[in-house]
């Protein structure tokens, strides 16, 4: 869960579209904030203005006609619908806001939840919440916007506490609703933004993944793979087009290179054959033993060259896949029994143990000759690279996926994981094996034969020993229904 989440955040497109969504939500929030400011806040400002004007008026009246007139004015105005007043001296109070200190009938006792009464009129406007009595419904928990302060006498003394306010409950309720709406809509936008980021990134990632799979396959040697196109000519489609053109080009180059190699091999065979014949016939005529030996050795070198060329051409023909029609239903046991019988004495002679564990009753589509050659190559490799006293194991079994597996393992030095794909290439020989005889074509041949059989050719660790992890080579055949049936004549 956590891992898939961190994987999601590693996805560039997801991050980008999420950023876009967040930016959108922020701007949405800002514009809704302006709406709030332009409506609710401006209404409150209008209220504040009215209150300020009234406070100024009351102060003015006090200064011109005195406290009793102010008292009357407050009483009168307390009957008005929206005004809220309190005028309070140490001995009495009037107004429709009750005082906690002087509770009397007819007045609404209230508790100022916010704000401190008794501050000078210069204090800022505060919104007080009043807690009314339970039976006075419309005054219950209503909010007023008020200025609180003191009437100031001629000598600057405080004469009475004064609160002038307006009931702003309706405005505040609207404000609350607007605020809730702003927050809710922002959250909805954020959620939808998140969803759309997911959707967009998933869609895009699928197409990017196709490219990644393509690259992996091409690296694994499947040069015939191409990127899927939807012909929308959008940037990904164009990228696919370019990639495909690039792969076509690589494919052409590879083919040209191979063709050149094959042509060289083909053209050099005839002169080499003649060279070999010449060496051989001279060697037989030679009376001098030492010279004859040298000529025989030269002839053997020519043989080695011819074998290499022959292998190159065989691989080329196998890769062309012309021989797929030769595959027949066959019990691989027959093939492996023969190989085991052929190589067991050879193993014994060089001091290697040979184990064969061959299951019965399996069936594959194969060409006996080619498969024998592949297994023979692998067994010979195992013999060549396993130090004396080691063991070579030949196995035939069915694996967990119900696929037939031929496995050849040894307890020699093995092949490092990073080289395991590379050694399947033609002429690739690892540094360690450069001194050993061989052409570097054995595994390429096996690979070509496995491919022809639509089988997987997998290298892994074999039987570990003091010489290293050993090597295990598997040819994993496809389940039979995946195979094209053999063409019977």
């Amino acid at each position: 869960m956590l891992e898939s989440l961190s994987k999601l955040f590693r996805n560039t497109l997801f991050r980008l579209s999420l950023l876009g969504a967040v930016l959108f939500v922020v701007s949405l929030f800002a514009s809704l904030g302006y709406v709030y400011y332009a409506t609710v806040a401006s209404e409150l400002r209008a209220v504040d203005k009215t209150i300020q004007a009234e406070v100024d008026e009351i102060q003015n009246i006090y200064q011109t006609v005195g406290l009793p007139d102010v008292q009357r004015l407050i009483v009168l105005r307390s009957f008005a619908f929206e005004g809220r007043y309190l005028l309070e001296t140490p001995n009495w109070f009037v107004g429709n806001l009750g005082s906690t200190a002087m509770e009397q009938d007819g007045y609404v006792p209230f508790t100022l939840i916010d704000g401190v009464p008794g501050k000078p009129f210069v204090s800022k406007h505060l919104t007080y919440a009043i807690q009314g009595e339970d039976d006075v419904d419309d005054l219950q928990d209503r909010r007023i916007r008020a200025l609180s302060g003191f009437l100031i006498g001629p000598k600057g003394e405080t004469v009475a506490g004064l609160i002038v306010g307006r009931d702003v409950e309706e405005i505040m309720r609207t404000a609350d609703r607007v605020r809730t709406a702003i927050i809710t809509s922002s959250l909805i936008a954020l959620f939808l933004g998140l969803l759309s980021s997911l959707f967009v990134s998933q869609r895009f990632t699928r197409r990017i993944d196709a490219f990644n799979r393509l690259a992996t396959d091409v690296r694994a040697g499947q040069l015939d793979r191409r990127a899927p196109r939807n012909y929308s000519e959008d940037e990904l489609d164009l990228l696919a087009e370019h990639l495909n053109a690039m792969l076509d080009h690589i494919d052409r180059l590879m083919k040209a290179m191979r063709y050149a190699g094959d042509s060289i091999a083909h053209d050099l065979r005839s002169p080499l054959t003649r060279l070999r014949t010449r060496l051989e016939s001279t060697a037989t005529e030679m009376k001098d033993d030492k010279s004859a030996t040298a000529l025989w050795l030269a002839a053997e070198d020519a043989d080695q060259l011819l074998k290499t060329f022959d292998s190159v051409l065989r691989i080329a023909r196998l890769e062309a896949g012309e021989q797929r029609e030769m595959l027949q239903e066959i019990d691989p046991k027959i093939i492996l029994d023969d190989i085991a019988e052929l190589y067991e004495p050879a193993c014994e002679d060089v001091g290697l143990g040979f184990l064969a564990q061959i299951d019965e009753g399996l069936l594959i589509l194969a060409d006996r000759g080619l498969l024998s050659q592949a297994v023979s190559n692998l067994v010979e490799n195992a013999i060549k690279y396993t130090p004396k006293g080691g063991a070579v194991k030949l196995e035939l079994s069915r694996n967990m996926d119900n696929r037939v597996v031929i496995s050849i393992s040894d307890d020699g030095p093995g092949i490092p994981a990073m080289d395991r794909e590379r050694v399947k290439e033609r002429f690739v020989r690892l540094d360690k094996s450069r001194t050993a005889p061989g052409s570097g074509l054995g595994l390429a041949m096996v690979d070509a034969i496995a491919t022809l059989h639509e089988a997987e050719f997998v290298l892994g660790d074999g039987m570990a020993s003091e010489h290293g992890p050993g090597l295990s080579v598997k040819i994993i055949f496809p389940r039979r229904r995946h195979l094209r049936p053999a063409i019977k004549e």
């Binding site: 022959d310 024998s372 010979e380």
Partner: protein, 223 residues
């Protein structure tokens, strides 16, 4: 043996002729298919060496023509197309053996001598005898100097192949083809191992060795 070589590559043909003549055979050369067919029809050869790709008349067509005439002369097909399916095609067309280019001359010589000998009316033999070595093909027994020799099935077939070509060189590739039915060359000396085991059984306890190694070529069973 009198051998007809139908081969368009002059140099190759010359070497083959020279080599075969040195081995004591009489050799005629034909540089193209038409002439090859004419010569094959005109004279009685012990063996034909036939290149597959020939000017004028393809090697396989030539072969089919002479087989249609009822001519059973043993034919060795030579070709640069050294693949097994090509081999099958060649044998189906009536060839007796098939050799892919590049080949060692010894290989060619051994094979020609082997098929040339096959034409002897020995098709229904049940017993093989070379010196004091005897093989009963029906009872699957082997004796040397009246001593029973116990052989594994594969060793039996190996010896049978050598005895059928007694006195002649049998190459490793030929053994691999005829005894194991493999048409590829192993990189190791795997055949030598089997031959030396066989040698241990048939030669070790006897004074004169019969199974000889021929340098650069293969093996020969000889008294």
């Amino acid at each position: 043996m009198r051998i007809l070589v139908v081969e368009d590559d002059e140099v190759a043909a010359d070497y083959v002729r020279k080599g075969l003549m040195e081995a004591g055979h009489v050799v005629d050369l034909a540089p193209d298919g038409d002439l090859g067919l004419e010569m094959a029809r005109a004279a009685d050869y012990d063996a034909l060496i036939l290149d597959r790709m020939l000017p004028k008349l393809d090697g396989l067509e030539l072969l089919e023509s002479i087989r249609d005439d009822g001519d059973t002369t043993p034919v060795l097909i030579l070709s640069a197309l050294g693949e097994v399916d090509q081999k099958v095609e060649g044998l189906r067309a009536g060839g007796d053996d098939y050799l892919a280019k590049p080949y060692a001359f010894t290989e060619l010589l051994a094979r020609v001598e082997a098929i040339g000998r096959r034409s002897d009316p020995t098709a229904a033999v049940t017993k093989l005898k070379v010196g004091d070595l005897e093989m009963d093909l029906l009872a699957r027994t082997v004796k040397r100097a009246d001593q029973n020799i116990l052989l594994q099935p594969r060793e039996f077939r190996l010896l049978e192949c050598l005895m059928r070509n007694a006195g002649q060189v049998v190459t490793r590739t030929m053994l691999l083809e005829k005894v194991w039915d493999y048409h590829f060359d192993p990189q190791t000396n795997v055949i030598d191992v089997h031959v030396s085991r066989l040698r241990g059984k048939i030669d070790k306890e006897f004074e004169s060795p019969m199974l000889h190694t021929v340098r650069g070529a293969g093996y020969r069973l000889q008294v």
